[in-house]
Symmetry: C2
Subunit: 658 residues, 2 copies
Amino acid sequence: MPAEPRLLANAIRALSMDAVQAANSGHPGMPMGMADVATVLFTDYLKFDPQDPEWHDRDRFVLSAGHGSMLIYSLLHLTGYAHPTMDEIRSFRQLNSPCAGHPENFLMKGVEATTGPLGQGFAMAVGMAIAERHLNATFGDALVDHHTWVLAGDGCLMEGINHEAVGLAGHLKLGRLNVIWDNNKITIDGSTDLSTSEDIPARYRASGWHVVSCDGHDFADIRRALDEAKADPRPSLIDCRTIIGYGAPNKQGTSATHGAALGDAEVAAARETLGWSSAPFELPQAVVDAWREAGRRHAASRAEWRARLAADPQRDEFLRRMEGRLPESGAKDAYLDWLIANPQKVATRRASELALEAINEALPETIGGSADLTGSNNTKTKAQKPLTANDYSGRYIYYGIREFGMSAAMNGMALHGGVIPYGGTFLVFSDYCRPAIRLSALQNARVVYVMTHDSIGLGEDGPTHQPVEHVMSLRMIPNLAVYRPADAVETAECWALSLERTDGPSLLALTRQNLPQFRDQRTENLCARGAYRARAAKAARKVVLLATGSEVETAMHAADALEAQGIGADVVSMPCWSLFDAQDAAYRADLIPSDALKVSIEAGTTLGWERYTGLEGLRIGLDRFGASAPAGDLFKRFGFTAEAIVPQILAALNQGDQ
Amino acid sequence: MPAEPRLLANAIRALSMDAVQAANSGHPGMPMGMADVATVLFTDYLKFDPQDPEWHDRDRFVLSAGHGSMLIYSLLHLTGYAHPTMDEIRSFRQLNSPCAGHPENFLMKGVEATTGPLGQGFAMAVGMAIAERHLNATFGDALVDHHTWVLAGDGCLMEGINHEAVGLAGHLKLGRLNVIWDNNKITIDGSTDLSTSEDIPARYRASGWHVVSCDGHDFADIRRALDEAKADPRPSLIDCRTIIGYGAPNKQGTSATHGAALGDAEVAAARETLGWSSAPFELPQAVVDAWREAGRRHAASRAEWRARLAADPQRDEFLRRMEGRLPESGAKDAYLDWLIANPQKVATRRASELALEAINEALPETIGGSADLTGSNNTKTKAQKPLTANDYSGRYIYYGIREFGMSAAMNGMALHGGVIPYGGTFLVFSDYCRPAIRLSALQNARVVYVMTHDSIGLGEDGPTHQPVEHVMSLRMIPNLAVYRPADAVETAECWALSLERTDGPSLLALTRQNLPQFRDQRTENLCARGAYRARAAKAARKVVLLATGSEVETAMHAADALEAQGIGADVVSMPCWSLFDAQDAAYRADLIPSDALKVSIEAGTTLGWERYTGLEGLRIGLDRFGASAPAGDLFKRFGFTAEAIVPQILAALNQGDQ
């Protein structure tokens, strides 16, 4: 490195404090504190090429402490990425700037993950490191041979998910994962002594990690630590003792630098302290040149990699997977043909397993798993070997009792690319995963959540395990496709849609209990429109029954009972609301006509169903917690039977006639 | 203990395997494996009296591994609690039995907490131990001097929340917390080796815990370990090496005993192995007598405690707090009078702080805190000292970056009684707390969640930090009162309702940005009805604007603009939907009449608002993720201005006229 490293680091400090000052909003302390470490990492260690931010064999760098976003923006700008430009940095935290308050993977190349919700960047990096080892085991060192680096703060380490991520990484011996800990002993509330007394290195060692410490402002010492971390076969925690806000003479080392602009006076004082005489958003040419040179470090190795790829017999398959294209396959049609010929009265979780048998054979890129409910979630297919520390080629992960860690790891895998992760738990524990599900959606990550035991149909385990509000509340997460299929055919269709979707996550809500297969004809994928008429009224239509999942069967029984009284009733199955809402008005009006009584049946909260029933319709649901009893008893107790529903419909029809 | 302890323990084993067998559903492995340890604990260590399950100075016992519910049901029955009766045990997991699949605190005395969602029982126990020390510091050893015991399995220890709970307990040096770890090396998926390689004792020591190990089937060794744990001033982890399903000769030690009935043959074989000849649900009288005698162990000490209480000068205050009765106080009226006289244009988070200044002075039982966002959540009032390991009398907890752990600890505090916990984080991180919020609601726990930065009004931090779906999805959790106040007066009213509510949690969604105080008259608590007319139309009413929180101001502006065009518009503020839905039909119809266009304005998901607007109404909301920019720019960008809204209303009115 030709230029004095402190000078390079000070460019990060200057850009960070100036951008935060201009926005009068942001977090200058972390970028200023970690500038020295980041300079060493980006100029001497990290494998990347700003000319090709999506180079498949680049090292992944995750800024888990996402509030320090000016660090990554500075680094990307300085090393020569096309973005952010200096103008974009000037507009930090302003409308339409790609330099958002927290780094957003969908706004800027080089930002590997959306971070900010603490702990999740770290846990996503674990998933990236899993994907790297798995693809390495599949495609070899010539194509896949990179490291995953994380920058994490005390917040990331204190969050519960950190325990799950650390445990999983240690168990899987992810030696290419190196976490740089910004050990500045400051959180927003003040000293870390206010809230924690933990010996963090000891905890990491207890989970099979290597820990090395260094002075985060001593360049030689930083290099020593990074060398040791890279060489060690275990995942590494690099404990960097740093001073938050380093360079701000009156505020450094205090929480005052954490989450607010330094103020003009302190910015000026920091310039003085750092010997930085350039105006805001201006950089000395020598500094720019040195950074750009560092950014060109791996141009040659990328060229060599491209040459190896071109010559590799697995080239096409590697690119197909990395680009997320599904293979050509007749598996889906064959499986659906088989289902029609051999109707399955099974739980939709079992139907999901049947579908997965076909999927996992046809799609070598899937990696399944469960948070210790493999046999209940039906997530493991027969041929799937476990992915373990001894065999990264496996395609099934025993995630342990780590729902949140599993979900975040899946996000990391999806963001890494080359694999399609799916993982299971009980639907009620989607609450444990929810912060990661939201990040799947925000990051446009192709992750499939297999959530079983999706209602009081779970039965005896009782209200702690019975989702009531979950399906509806998941429907509210933007860009999440929520599916609640009603039989084995719908389950297969929803799986197909989930896998074909490239710009976001899908969640399958599946039953514990058996359901009859009512779909008995080969058709186009009816679930693709979100809702469809599962049965048309025989008598003159007066009622439209709207249902999802296991309640479609109930709706069929109710329709039978109504028809027996000469009242025509459609049954509409609505496996995916967001897809239905995207249909044109004619399709929607045909399914949900204005001249019939609309009745929703779903074993969960009724709030939200007014969208389809209108206020004059009926909503059969459950607006309270469930109870512990056999499933059949519960459905009776809570009124999910034709016997309980039909009289309410008749009363409403009579009232409507008055 | 007169009887052979193994014989006493076998009574637990027999009841557990027989009840699970009768239900053909449940988890026999844990109760059978932990029967020996539980027998020692309940016959020689735990301070309790079945004659008074709510004895304020009893030890708390939390079965964090709630799936092993037959353990606690057996123990309560055997020691002589009124419930469960043997008939109730026979109906384990059946409709209306108090012996639910997982222990439910609202169904049976002696069940201190609802458990099952893994990790949370442990974390609630941390809160109970905090409450114990705090009340001890307040009322002295004579009244408050008990221990908190937890039984936890590998699942509880592997969950992320365990890290938060362990960190908090270690930091606060909660030496009276003793956690018994059922170290059976089995999870549902099989051996713990499938998913974890952690040195658990080392991790606990790293957080300031004491760890002791024992053979969980050697009674003397168990006693040695419990003695050591009780004597040590640190929180203790008691590592009990056990065999899951102990006594089932062909299945013990395997995951086959974990979550399913053993089967008739194996139950018979277990009887043989254990030398247990009694029929199902029958117990030898000698065993019953010995257990009942153990249950009478603390009758005398309870009598002494009652005598001490009767003589204690703080008796009335102690009972008031433990029984959850608020003190008589004019503080609320005085504060509201002051607000009316001195209207505050402040953020509702700041209005919450102002209210808390009055509340914390009037209510010595409140314990506040924040997950490292004290200055942002405005949760700390001036006089609040921190609650620390050196001073448990403090009333403010620096929870650290542990949202989920904080929430679960608050549940534990509320369940312990004697304190009213409130705690803060950003509303978007209600996702991190959500599993605990659900348990607050299910357990009827008086916990107040102070969730600030409640919309895109958060501004520059961007979509990871901007709640969109959160307010609506929280409304769907049964028994959770969700408040979104619109000004300083409403904030005070919502705080009053939250504190007056004794049968469940409340959640306050509060703004970052300033709002004008539109309430300028002293009235009854208008928020108590959930919604009320904040302004009546001047011209003939054609429109009713429904809004919450910061959007009430927007609605006022829109109403102004409509009135200027001669269109009468009511503005209805709806701070709490669940309270409004509980009003009578006349009140609801008066506020939301059928003869006006209903328009909802809320900076969040529109799904759900159809309940009040009907399908023909308008819903102004945000059905996508937000963005990073100053708040004002975002409200404009996403159409939350009178300028953007009024034309939509006019168009809808014109369409309605056609």
